[in-house]
């Protein structure tokens, strides 16, 4: 009698999702948000909030595209898992591609988001799996990032109404602005509301994600700001699950390149299924 376990399976199918010819856990890592204009900070309510949101997205994703090499550490009470990966995120082509390089067990696993279709390639069984929209809330590769957090379709400007809540002093003497974001009606977003703390220069400091009851569920902290191509970029992102003790995922950036030449060949099936 496996009834109980089968129930588990049923919830598993939700976790796994079935689409196209196959389905899977996990999804596209990557990116956040939209276009940009460089900005000059104005204090408090006088600020152009839309421009601020664009500015933040621009810092995180570049104006055209961003390439990076990162190490992701998933921390759980019983284990830590470290993965290295390379990622290409092109806002211009509305596509992103991630390839896991380490550990050997997962090397060659790749994710492609293109034309709003998300797919994962698993070299071990030489199979490509489509990740359905219903799986966007699921954990990405067992991390505290959901598919939506990383392969996000939603945009801070397009899907949220933002307003300045307050200003405060941040570490290092910078002035930070606290924004309250509320999802627009019918916006296809996971989080009904968010709180964003960023500096006047649009460098993100903290994102807090709330459910519809207004309870904070997740929080991402940005730190280790270094200058890349003349702009400030936080090199350590830590996503903490606020509902579970001792559970977080850390992204450490080793290499970041903004707005470089990014060939369309990267975002192809051929590249997806290339393996190691």
């Amino acid at each position: 009698m496996e009834v109980k376990k089968m129930r588990l399976i049923e919830s598993g199918i939700k976790a796994v999702g079935i689409s196209g010819r196959f389905a899977a856990t996990g999804l596209l890592l990557l990116s956040l948000i939209v276009p940009v204009t460089p900005a000059i900070g104005l204090p408090g309510a006088a600020r152009d909030v839309t421009r601020d949101m664009n500015g933040i997205e621009d810092v995180m994703r570049g104006r055209l595209n961003v390439y990076y090499e990162i190490t992701m550490t998933v921390h759980r009470k019983r284990w830590d898992r470290v993965m290295s990966m390379r990622a290409w995120d092109s806002r211009r082509q509305n596509a992103s591609f991630i390839k896991i390089t380490e550990p050997a067990r997962d090397a060659g696993t790749a994710f492609l988001k293109k034309d709003n279709i998300f797919r994962q390639y698993i070299p071990r069984i030489k199979r490509t799996i489509r990740i359905s929209p219903s799986m966007m809330l699921q954990s990405w590769m067992g991390s505290d990032f959901s598919n939506d957090d990383l392969a996000r379709e939603s945009s801070l400007t397009k899907d949220y109404d933002a307003k300045v809540k307050s200003t405060k002093a941040c570490e290092g003497g910078a002035t930070c602005i606290v924004y309250a974001l509320t999802a627009k009606p019918d916006a296809p977003v996971v989080w009904p509301s968010m709180e964003i703390v960023a500096t006047e220069r649009y460098v993100p400091v903290r994102f807090t994600y709330y459910n519809s009851e207004g309870t904070a569920l997740k929080e991402m902290r940005f730190s280790d700001v270094k200058t890349i191509q003349g702009r400030a970029f936080p090199h350590l992102w830590v996503m903490k699950n606020l509902t579970q003790d001792d559970q977080q995922t850390e992204i450490r950036f080793h290499r970041v390149a903004f707005d470089s030449e990014m060939s369309a060949a990267i975002f192809t099936d051929r590249n997806l299924t290339r393996g190691k």
Binding site: M1, L8, I9, E10, F22, A24, R76, R105, I125, M141
Partner: protein, 409 residues
């Protein structure tokens, strides 16, 4: 008293056909109860035992949290379990580690959500290995890491036959992607729709690799030799476990089975009571008929001076003797009938079979004869026989002398 017994015996012997018929009614009634009990108990216990042995085992040793969460994150660290000491406990038949996890199985574009279970093919052959249920192809080989043994329902849904490739994908212990490529080696059919549709067996070593389970298992399954020893053995095992592990009895792992068992038992009891009533009334009916037949005879004896008390005593003695005499053939008939059903299970078909299968039971009813069944049935018939012989005895003692003698029959 001696005379009464002598007369009663003579009466019984005088009309042998009547005596034999009454005795047979009694014996057959008893046999029916015994056989029904045998079938009930059999369908009950053998199904429980079968279901338990090939699924959860009598006990499962689990990491705390696994029972609720059911994810590989809560896997059992096998080095934390003193397997040697547990296996050495008298009454423990086996301690077997398994890795069970939900996966999506795929073959040629068809997909199905199933349970993948890694087992030791040799040690589990008679338990969760389901070797006896092989339908086609061959059983698992522990050296064949890409061999799979799948249920017939799953094989049908995915259009699989021995030799076909298939893929599974799920989540590993470290929450990375677990993926494996397998070749179907064999197909099993247990009759349990649940197992046949949802279970895929692979060698333990293979599951260990796919789910990143080196040094871990999802469950340590404990098989116990005799059901009666469950509590004692369980207490001993508990003392050997660390704070992170717990011992969970099958009733907690598969509560659906417990409910079904209770329901089944209740229906069984109702059925036995109805059958017993039918049997007892059959016996009383025969006894009363034989008394009514002899009313003239009783009237004659009383006319000759026998007190009503004597008639009452004679008739009740007859009934008691008859009861005693009938018990042995009743038990014998019951045993014969029971043995038949032990070796020839009742095969259920149609809706009944489907409902059994959907609960993980085989659509067969095997008999199971217990000593208790025999003595309990004998004793209750003895008591019933004695109590109900009062009625014909009273009837005989109340015979209206004049009325019966006037008639020429």
């Amino acid at each position: 008293m001696k005379t009464t017994i002598k007369l009663a015996i003579r009466n019984l012997l005088r009309n042998r056909r009547r005596t034999i018929i009454t005795s047979l009614t009694f014996a057959v009634g008893m046999a029916i109860i015994i056989v029904t009990n045998t079938i009930m108990k059999g369908s009950h216990e053998s199904n429980i035992e079968r279901a338990v042995r090939r699924s959860s085992g009598h006990y499962e040793i689990l990491y705390r949290g696994f029972l609720d969460k059911q994810t590989l994150y809560y896997s059992l660290e096998t080095s934390h379990v003193n397997g040697e000491a547990i296996r050495a406990i008298p009454g423990v038949e086996a301690l077997l580690y398994r890795i069970s996890a939900p996966v999506l199985a795929e073959s040629e574009g068809r997909t199905r959500l199933i349970i993948l279970r890694g087992i030791d093919p040799e040690k589990e052959a008679d338990y969760g290995g389901l070797k006896a249920n092989l339908k086609s192809g061959s059983y698992l080989d522990s050296g064949d890491l890409h061999g799979a043994y799948v249920g017939s329902g799953m094989a049908e849904a995915l259009h699989l036959k021995p030799g076909d490739p298939m893929f599974v994908i799920g989540e590993a212990r470290d929450m990375s992607v677990a993926a494996g490529a397998y070749t179907v080696r064999g197909i099993f059919e247990t009759g349990s729709a649940d197992l046949d549709r949802n279970l895929m067996l692979v060698p333990y070593e293979s599951a260990k690799e796919v789910f990143v389970m080196e040094g871990f298992a999802t469950e340590g399954v404990v098989m116990i030799k005799s059901y009666d020893e469950m509590d004692r053995v369980g207490d001993t095992i508990r003392k050997l476990l660390g704070p992170d592990e717990e011992l969970v009895p099958w009733k907690k792992i598969i509560p659906e089975l417990v409910q079904l068992v209770a329901l089944d038992a209740a229906f069984g009891e109702i059925m036995i009571i109805i059958l017993a009533m039918i049997a007892v009334f059959g016996v009383i009916n025969t006894l009363i008929t034989s008394i009514l037949e002899r009313r003239r005879e009783f009237a004659m004896i009383m006319a000759l001076g026998a007190p009503r008390k004597t008639i009452f005593q004679i008739v009740i003695t007859e009934s008691i003797l008859l009861t005693f005499v009938s018990i042995l053939p009743g038990v014998l008939l019951g045993i014969i009938g029971s043995v038949y059903f032990i070796y020839n299970p009742i095969v259920l078909t149609g809706e009944a079979a489907r409902s059994m299968q959907s609960w993980g039971f085989e659509p067969f009813i095997y008999g199971r004869l217990s000593f208790k069944n025999l003595w309990a049935t004998s004793l209750s018939f003895l008591v019933l026989g004695l109590v109900f012989s009062l009625w014909p005895a009273l009837l005989a003692a109340r015979t209206k002398i004049m009325k019966r003698l006037q008639r020429t029959e």
